[in-house]
Symmetry: C2
Subunit: 387 residues, 2 copies
């Protein structure tokens, strides 16, 4: 079955507005399904996870949900008992307006940590919205969940009659651990809960969990999928492929829009003893500030990749004499580079997407991870974000 | 016994010169003792450790050495068999000139990775230097081992008749693991090898191994101490205290001169279950790019400290409800901050040294670590270093 990028899934409606939480851009998004959905979610492992995460985790235990609420520009994290009460009040307000039980609503929140919601503004803004729900403009929804993002992130696929849409936000504090920032998938596929869960988790693991912008794990990471069944069944493998494609597309969009990023870095490590080893080495490279700045400056200082491999402590020891390092098709280690090679390397490091390929030559496992370079822009944005 | 900062230890002489390895600044330092020294060294755990590290580790196995050679501006790492042969040739040249056996010489090398020494220049530059050794100018020695350092790092203490000098270099690729960049200590104390080893390793563990600039572990980290005994014995506790003070002073000098740094960050985590937990949490905070940029911008975004604690996976789980976070004497969590508190916080974050204090309130252990903020300067320096 061929995959095409296409229209929106049946049966979803939305209310997207500005509540004035931080500025005048949209900061509140509700997307509801006409019928109950099979649903799954994975969330941050942060010990400081906020009430949005803990409540949503509970609400998804029965693999059922019918609406998603997102408040952006304020994470409602580290606010103690008042933060929990605020989150519950938002759910009750949405439940009252939509007629959906509060335990069938997923809530997510993103923005500054340690600041209370302007709850009066939220009460005022949500009053009567239940009558204003319209067909979902997913582009507007993707915009409504942004914080310092500069572009909305949206990806779609069609599998037969079934439609799949994914949206995501995230530009910093990105080293997802079991989930990512905020990403939501909507489909009208009919799919059984266990199949959805297994496909969704494996997809997130190989896509969002392989992305790192700055090694900082957000307190609010949430990835949720809703499948309302209105378009009927499709082969599971086709659905899984489409989901993988949509997630991969969103990951690249996040890496590209990462705070201050000018280039995407893709690192593949192969012939490792196991997947954990391959991923650990790949992450060490993609997260190294010295590798990131060298790529930003297109400085052919490939020795920093050797340095990053060298600092990895893995259970099965890496033998530096067996390691081969390539940038695209240029082998830089253990060879001696000619001046022509160095110039070639500089060219590769000037591309929008820089691919580093490391072979450990001690096993069969491989992993690919994504990240971005580190520029003055990251400092500029993060030295001044909260104020 | 009182500690004073003072003169140089007896019995050491030096040759410091420019061999033209990268530019016209000094790049070659030999310091030799008139008599054999009790010696110890700790080195990088990097899997890509170069021949300087592997040879020096071997040469110090008998706890004896009589000279240290440092080549700066080229790390001689990831150069394969030719790199090993080059390092051995340097040792042979120094042995021939000084009359010290090659296995009693420690070698260290720092600079770009993956580029061969200009061995002809080294041969020419070392010819006849044995006749040019003079009293050690430790300030010049500290300059001679610099790469992108902007100031030499030197600290001294006198313990009775005994003199102790430490020098260090390092501004980036700093997350020492069992050792640090390059740091050398010289003393005329008479001290038994086992005592020296135990005091030296415990000192390095609590000072250099608690320093992180950018989470990147160098392939060349080396910390070495030579004690030639010419000034006789002093109480071990006094010697240990002096060594601790000298090492701590060097660590602060490195943090202050770190690439692009404008402020030192000191993080203390106390009431943890054990030292490992305290250190892990403290390192997560001091290494967080978002905490570092907030401090650079003096942005009172303390929630990022909560985020950094939240991402720590430790064996004994941290309870976010028991955590207390302070900047100097201002408690920021779990309290609600007044506008006055926020202004106070902004003042604290504008100081040259910012102290973050976290209490986990689940045990008795504590750790203090040091780092620095992250500015455009780091990007500027590291986007352009090798070329």
């Amino acid at each position: 079955m061929s995959l095409t990028t296409s229209s929106t899934p049946q049966g979803f409606s939305a209310f997207i507005t500005n509540l004035g939480i931080r500025d005048t851009t949209d900061d509140f998004v509700v997307i509801k399904s006409a019928v109950p959905c099979v649903a799954d979610g994975v969330f941050t492992q942060s010990l400081f996870a906020g009430p949005s995460v803990t409540i949503s985790r509970d609400n998804l235990k029965d693999s059922q949900a019918q609406a998603i609420v997102v408040i952006s520009k304020n994470a409602n994290v580290a606010n103690g008992a008042v933060g929990i009460a605020d989150a519950q009040e938002v759910l009750q307000l949405v439940a009252a307006e939509t007629g959906i039980a509060a335990h069938d609503i997923v809530i997510a929140s993103t923005g500054v940590i340690g600041r209370r919601y302007p709850i009066e503004k939220i009460r005022a803004g949500l009053s009567g919205f239940g009558k204003k729900l319209t067909a979902v403009d997913f582009d507007a929804a993707a915009r409504g969940i942004m914080t310092t993002d500069t572009v909305p992130k949206l990806a779609t696929r069609q599998i037969g009659n079934v439609n799949l849409v994914g949206i995501a936000k995230g530009v910093g504090m990105i080293e997802p651990n079991m989930a990512t920032l905020l990403t939501f998938f909507f489909t009208d596929a009919a799919i059984e809960a266990n199949s959805l869960r297994s496909i969704f988790r494996s997809t997130i693991d190989k896509t969002f969990n392989c992305l790192s912008v700055d090694t900082d794990t957000s307190t609010s990471d949430s990835a949720v999928i809703l499948a309302n069944g209105l378009a009927g069944e499709v082969p599971l493998e086709d659905f899984a492929n489409a989901l993988q494609e949509v997630a991969h597309e969103l990951v690249l969009k996040i890496a590209k829009d990462a705070e201050g990023a000018t280039k995407i870095i893709e690192v593949t490590v192969d012939s490792a003893i196991n997947y954990a080893q391959a991923k650990k080495v790949a992450k060490a490279i993609v997260n190294s500030p010295l590798v990131k700045t060298a790529i930003y400056g297109a400085d052919p200082n490939w020795g920093r990749v050797a340095m990053a491999i060298g600092k990895c402590e893995t259970e099965q020891e890496i033998n530096s004499e067996k390691v081969v390092i390539r940038f695209d098709n240029v082998r830089v280690y253990p060879d001696t580079l000619s001046p022509e090679n160095l110039e070639q390397l500089r060219q590769i490091m000037s591309q929008d997407k820089v691919h580093i390929h490391v072979s450990l030559n001690i096993g069969e496992a491989a992993a690919t991870v994504w990240g971005c370079d580190l520029s003055e822009g990251y400092i500029e944005i993060n030295g001044k974000y909260s104020t």
